[in-house]
């Protein structure tokens, strides 16, 4: 065990940013951030994801230097930066509403961080040109922010945060103000820029789709605590708790009670008297209440069952046709919000409302989480 940890420490490079026991309160009563421990690796794209008010912006602001932690320390590389003023941190930042200086042209906006750093005029021009080309805005140098569309402003803000070549870029819901299509386009573009530059990105959003698309790792926040931090696949397939399961992606939750446990599999007693075999999540021992979670696309009809699958009887309440797939809302074991999502090609006949069907639920796709 001890050798293992030592090995792991040798393999992982030193974190670029690390939060150690960071707490933050604004009013001395409520902890907005409680005991945050977070290591951000050099060059990774990490997303802070969480519902509104969960403390994402607060964390970002502490990292940028606009808020000071009430307790704990934040390290950037080797230095503790708790007391370092924000203008000395050399961190690029994209604000939610871009905060482009309205009285300056695009070029002046991009020159701003460079002139502060006393680059020569020729260098400044070259860097500004390169940054604008990177965000595909060559030719817009003389426009003012008010003369740009939302997406263009977004790109200028990004270029301004990158033009002075920081090693770390923070973005606080930078795509929040864009429409869906543009947002998806920008997500990919930001991702590409990240891949090209290889610098560390910390991205804040409350849109889980965005987080899944863009991130190397996602830290899920709730009430100022990181619920889980992992790569998107694990976050989706193996949520650490009921909050993560319900916050990321669509999820069915059946409440029940744990009956017995054998290895990684627990037997759960459902309210209708059925017993099902479920992978053990963070649920407690026998006798404790649990929420059994399963993704709608993992629900299958009985004829596709594998030998170990649980069989459950369901009543179809509603079916919704969505072109490439169908969603069935059903009643299962007392839960009448149980959703199944299946490609049309896998259904030879669509069950009508009121019909009874048998469902096959694989234990590896069912997860018992603490209620």
């Amino acid at each position: 065990m001890a050798t293992e940890t030592r090995q792991a420490a040798q393999e992982t490079p030193p974190a670029h940013v690390s939060f150690r026991g960071v707490q933050k309160t604004y009013d001395g009563e409520n902890l907005i951030v409680r005991n945050l421990d977070l290591d951000i690796r050099r060059g990774e794209f990490i997303t802070l994801l969480g519902p509104s008010g969960s403390g994402k912006t607060t964390c970002l602001m502490m990292l940028a230097g606009f808020e000071t932690p009430t307790a704990g320390e934040i390290r950037l590389g080797d230095c503790v930066i708790n007391r370092l003023p924000p203008h000395k941190r050399n961190i690029g930042m994209v604000f939610q509403n871009y905060a482009l200086f309205p009285n300056m042209t695009v070029r002046e906006n991009l020159r701003f961080p460079l002139s502060v750093r006393k680059f020569s005029a020729a260098e400044i021009d070259a860097k500004v040109k390169r940054a604008l080309e990177m965000v595909q805005l060559g030719g817009f140098e003389n426009r003012r922010p008010a003369q740009l569309s939302g997406g263009q402003q977004q790109r200028v803000a990004l270029a301004r945060a990158l033009v002075f070549e920081p090693q770390l870029v923070l973005m606080d819901e930078p795509l929040g103000a864009l429409d869906k299509q543009l947002r998806e386009h920008m997500q990919l573009e930001i991702k590409h820029i990240h891949q090209t530059l290889g610098i560390t990105f910390v991205f804040v959003t409350h849109d889980q789709g965005e987080a899944l698309t863009m991130s190397d790792r996602i830290a899920v926040f709730n009430h100022g605590v990181i619920q889980q931090i992992d790569v998107p696949e694990v976050l989706y397939e193996k949520p650490a708790n009921a909050f993560v399961a319900s916050f990321i992606g669509e999820n069915n939750a059946l409440s029940g009670r744990i009956d017995s446990r054998t290895g990684d599999i627990v037997s759960v007693l459902l309210p209708d008297g059925n017993r099902i075999a479920v992978s053990a999540g963070d649920a407690g021992g026998p006798g404790s209440d649990t929420l059994v979670s399963i993704r709608p696309e993992r629900v299958r009809l009985a004829r596709e069952r594998a030998p170990r699958d649980n069989l459950l009887r369901a009543t179809v309440l509603e079916h919704i046709y969505l072109g490439d797939h169908v969603r069935l809302r059903m009643q299962v074991a007392g839960c009448d919000n149980f959703t199944m999502k299946t490609p049309i090609s896998r259904l030879d006949r669509c069950p009508a409302a009121g019909e009874h069907v048998d469902l096959a639920l694989a234990p590896e796709h069912l997860l018992a989480l603490a209620a």
Binding site: P86, H87, V116
Partner: protein, 416 residues
């Protein structure tokens, strides 16, 4: 449902559509007119008309023109080299006789005296001697009453002062006068006071505006950045001066600033000075009171502009590596320029017209142009001069406003 479909389907002739649109617009325009009508009337009656009449008064010249019309008509054809003909003399004698005993004579005398001091006696003495004894020719009679009627210069004077309009007052207001040859020249030094007064008015207004800006800017910034509760308290303090009359505030300053006043007592008690410091009836007292009264006019526009500047701009500047003070100067300050422009313009223009504070708290050398306007209207009833000074003040204000619109007003509307 069917009715709806029918109307939607029925083709509407374009002409009818246009007529309907016009009809709808006419009703809306009528409504707007009715709503702004009272205001338009009020502005017309209380602002446009008085200013127009003021402009008129500054060039109006009724005294001689109105009372000696026939004489002036005859003088039109006069060559000007020799004395006028007998008919002109007779007409003057006749018209002066008619006017004798009425205020018209005094008005004529006063008006001519302004052109050339000493002429009052000429008119008054002549009027007293009229009517001429029966049978005396007018020419000899008048010259006998006052020898000056025998000089061509007197008649030139009469003709010059007799126009329906005159630039005399406006020229005097900028220390200029017309010499005997009709050239515009500088007024004699003992009359040339107005340019100095105008300069003083400008200087004092600039000082007050600058002090208001220096004091008001940090205050407005504080108010814009403090949490609402504290900001409201500050706002009440800022508005407090508005809740008392100007006279009360001026009186309060007299109490505070006089030689035996609170401030002097404090200064002497703490040993800062031995003898009381003169703070009243000089420039200092005027500045203090004017800044106090005008400060809200600077703070309010500044505050409203600053309130609209998101704090994210400053944060963005700092995050880009610019130290806080420099960020403030390079990013925040330029965005407050519309507020500075509006506040400074407001304070400056109010200053230019200030009267009561300098009159009560200042010495003779601290009076601004309004003091002289009041002097001419209240004391000497010289409407021409009062109007001319007002015109100069108005023109200076308009020029200033023009500068504001040209150099401060436009770029900021761009930026928005």
């Amino acid at each position: 449902m069917t009715a709806l479909c029918e109307t939607a389907d029925a083709p509407i002739a374009p002409r009818a559509l246009k007529r309907r649109l016009r009809h709808a617009e006419r009703r809306r325009n009528l409504l707007f007119a009715a709503l702004i009508g009272p205001l338009a009337f009020f502005v017309l009656a209380s602002f446009i008309v008085p200013i127009a009449s003021l402009l008129g008064k500054s060039i109006d010249n009724p005294e001689v023109h109105g009372n000696l019309p026939q004489t002036l008509a005859l003088l039109e054809d006069w060559s000007g080299d020799a004395l006028p003909d007998d008919a002109t003399f007779a007409s003057l004698a006749h018209e002066l006789t008619q006017a004798a005993g009425t205020p018209a004579v005094a008005n004529i005398a006063k008006r001519l005296n302004r052109e050339q001091p000493g002429t009052r006696t000429l008119v008054m003495r002549t009027a007293r001697g009229l009517p001429l004894p029966e049978g005396t020719p007018a020419r000899e009679g008048l010259i006998q009453l006052d020898a000056r009627w025998g000089e061509t210069q007197t008649w030139h004077l009469l003709r010059n002062a007799g126009g329906a309009f005159t630039g005399f007052y406006l020229l005097s207001a900028v220390d200029r006068t017309v010499d005997a040859d009709g050239n515009i020249v500088a007024s004699p030094p003992e009359e040339a006071v107005y340019l100095d007064v105008l300069k003083r008015t400008f200087v004092m207004s600039i000082v007050v505006t600058a002090v208001c800006l220096l004091l008001g800017f940090p205050l407005a910034y504080l108010m814009a950045t403090l949490p609402a509760r504290h900001a409201n308290l500050l706002m009440i303090l800022v508005l407090l001066p508005f809740w008392t009359s100007v006279l009360v505030r001026v009186a309060a300053w007299i109490v505070l600033l006089q030689n035996e006043g609170l401030i002097n007592q404090l200064l002497m008690w703490t040993g800062v000075t031995e003898a009381p410091v003169q703070m009243l009836f000089n420039r200092f007292g005027v500045y203090v009171a004017m800044v106090h009264i005008l400060l809200p006019f600077m703070v309010l526009p500044l505050y409203s502009v600053m309130k609209g500047i998101p704090p994210a701009y400053l944060r963005a500047a700092v995050s880009l590596g610019c130290p806080p003070l420099r960020s403030f100067w390079r990013v925040y300050f330029p965005l407050t320029l519309p507020g500075i422009g509006a506040g400074a313009l407001l304070v400056f223009i109010l200053c230019m017209g200030y009267y009561i504070t300098p009159a009560l708290l200042g010495g003779p050398n601290d009076q601004m142009i309004s003091y002289f306007i009041a002097f001419y209207t209240n004391q000497t009833v010289n409407w021409g001069m009062a109007s001319a000074l007002s015109v100069v003040l108005l023109a200076a204000t308009l020029v200033l406003y023009g500068f504001y619109v040209r150099y401060l007003g436009t770029p900021n509307t761009d930026a928005r």
